[in-house]
């Protein structure tokens, strides 16, 4: 058995959220820069140029990239030989609390969806746990903004809808969202599983690196085709029209019921902030 101190987890979570909010990943920045070159609309190029300028300024002056520093999403991949003495969820929440209160990040969480009183420390986080063999412990975090999350969709298609049905749903969703989710976006797709599994897969898809590709040839083909088709929609940077609406499509899949074709679409804005670490 391997014991991991909860204080270490808390400290790590705190650092990761502050860093994520201020420091755009290099591969996201590279993708934005090449998108700026590819964009056909002059206004679209100007908009992406301003986004790149912003991300560099945020990194340089240690400022949040976006004022929406999000809901704290945390994915823990825990080896079955790892033990914690105490409450791992509380350790994570304490890290989030410290990051958002001490790190000058915006508190965007309300304690109840209907009475809407702000918790003032951005807790609770949304925590997903996966158990794997061994004694490793990996933390993935993402501050997820509300604007793009609000444009996300879960739909139970039927097998007859097939790939064409999935594509239509994705294209309609991105087109109708227009400028609201702050395009150019990243589209995370969860296909298969069941109602809740596909939603989680769509989120996990957004945690993948922006420049990776699915190892599954069926998913990979769909990623490539959808990226091209979304960029033909004309939505463009911030919805002002253009040829770069989407930076990447990520497809994760899982076996499902013979009667079902669950599809979840999770939209990520251009401020694709996430951090990973292994303890």
């Amino acid at each position: 058995m391997r014991k991991i101190e909860l204080a270490e987890v808390t400290a790590k979570i705190k650092d990761m959220f502050i860093d994520a909010c201020e420091n755009i990943p290099d591969n996201v920045l590279c993708t934005l820069k090449s998108a700026e070159k590819r964009e056909e609309s002059p206004l679209g190029r100007e908009v992406i140029g301003k986004i790149v300028e912003n991300d560099l300024l945020a990194r340089d002056k240690r400022l949040p990239i976006c004022q929406d520093t999000g809901v704290a999403v945390v994915m823990l991949t825990i080896g079955s030989e790892v033990v914690f003495e105490g409450d791992i969820y509380e350790a994570v929440n304490e890290g989030v609390r410290q990051a958002y209160t001490e790190g000058y990040l915006r508190k965007s969480v309300v304690r109840h969806p209907l009475d809407r009183v702000n918790t003032k420390d951005n807790t609770p986080a949304i925590v997903h746990v996966k158990i794997v063999p061994g004694d490793s412990f990996r933390i993935d975090v993402a501050p997820k903004g509300g604007g793009s999350e609000n444009m996300s969709v879960v739909k139970m298609l039927i097998p007859a809808d097939g790939v064409e049905g999935i594509k239509k749903l994705v294209l309609d969703t991105v087109y109708n969202a227009g400028g609201k989710p702050c395009p150019p976006v990243i589209v995370g797709l969860g296909i298969g599983g069941n109602f809740e599994k596909c939603a989680l897969m769509a989120k996990e898809a957004l945690f993948r690196e922006i420049d990776d590709h699915s190892p599954d040839p069926i998913a990979r083909k769909l990623e490539d085709e959808l990226l091209e088709e979304i960029n033909r929609l004309g939505v463009g940077p911030m919805g002002f029209g253009g040829t770069v609406t989407c930076l990447a499509v990520k497809v994760n899949t899982y076996p499902c019921h013979i009667a079902s074709l669950p599809v979840a679409i999770n939209i990520q804005c251009h401020a694709a902030r996430h951090k990973t670490c292994t303890l």
């Binding site: 056909e40 609309s41 206004l43 679209g44 908009v47 301003k50 986004i51 300028e53 912003n54 300024l57 945020a58 002056k61 240690r62 400022l63 949040p64 990239i65 976006c66 004022q67 929406d68 520093t69 000058y104 990040l105 915006r106 508190k107 965007s108 809407r116 702000n118 003032k120 604007g147 609000n150 294209l171 227009g178 400028g179 609201k180 702050c182 088709e229 033909r232 929609l233 004309g234 939505v235 463009g236 911030m238 919805g239 002002f240 029209g241 253009g242 040829t243 804005c269 251009h270 401020a271």
Partner: protein, 182 residues
């Protein structure tokens, strides 16, 4: 480049066209969901507003807390459609310019024509850069709302793009039509 100061010139507002780039210098007010709700409740009760919205600019933003030595934290626009239900009562009071991001309802676009007002977009997610153009920030009212309180901002060369003008033009529609290849 078009320069705008406050109080905004009604003739200038009416002359703006979708796609124009505007640089705003002067005072603007912030407000988002919760503050708008309170303002409209006051108007419904026939009570005066805590800010004079006549010929003014409202920016839909909830900034991050300011780091030491800075006027304001990161301060990019939030999605504007959530403020659509509150737009008309404020335009009735003379509000002329709203700044946010993303598309809004067809009804809202018609109201702009009715009241001679405009909707501008700031660049969503360019919050650190935008904060550099905000020189002063103070809470006017609703301090209990935190980031959602109404703030009075003094801005210099605040960059915005005319998105819906007062004669029915829509930059989103025009742009998407031009680049759609499907």
């Amino acid at each position: 480049m078009i320069r705008m100061t406050n109080p905004v010139d009604e003739k200038l507002v009416r002359s703006l066209r979708a796609g124009d780039v505007v640089h705003i210098t002067g005072v603007i007010y912030t407000g988002r969901d919760a503050a708008h709700k309170r303002l409209c409740e006051l108007l419904k009760k026939g009570e005066p507003l805590p800010i004079d919205v006549k010929n003014s600019v409202i920016y839909y933003v909830g900034p991050t807390p300011a780091k030491p030595g800075r006027a304001i934290g990161s301060a990019g626009p939030t999605s504007s459609y959530r403020m659509d239900p509150y737009a008309e009562p404020l335009m009735q009071q003379g509000l002329k310019v709203m700044v946010g991001k993303g598309s809004r309802s067809a009804e809202f676009k018609q109201l702009l024509q009715k009241y001679g007002a405009v909707y501008l977009s700031a660049i969503g997610g360019a919050a650190a850069s935008i904060s550099e153009t905000i020189k002063k920030c103070e809470v006017v009212t609703y301090e209990d709302l935190g980031a959602e309180a109404i703030h009075r901002l003094e801005v210099e060369d605040f960059y915005a793009i005319v998105t819906y003008d007062s004669v029915g033009n829509d930059l989103f529609e025009q742009g998407v039509k031009k680049y759609r290849k499907a």
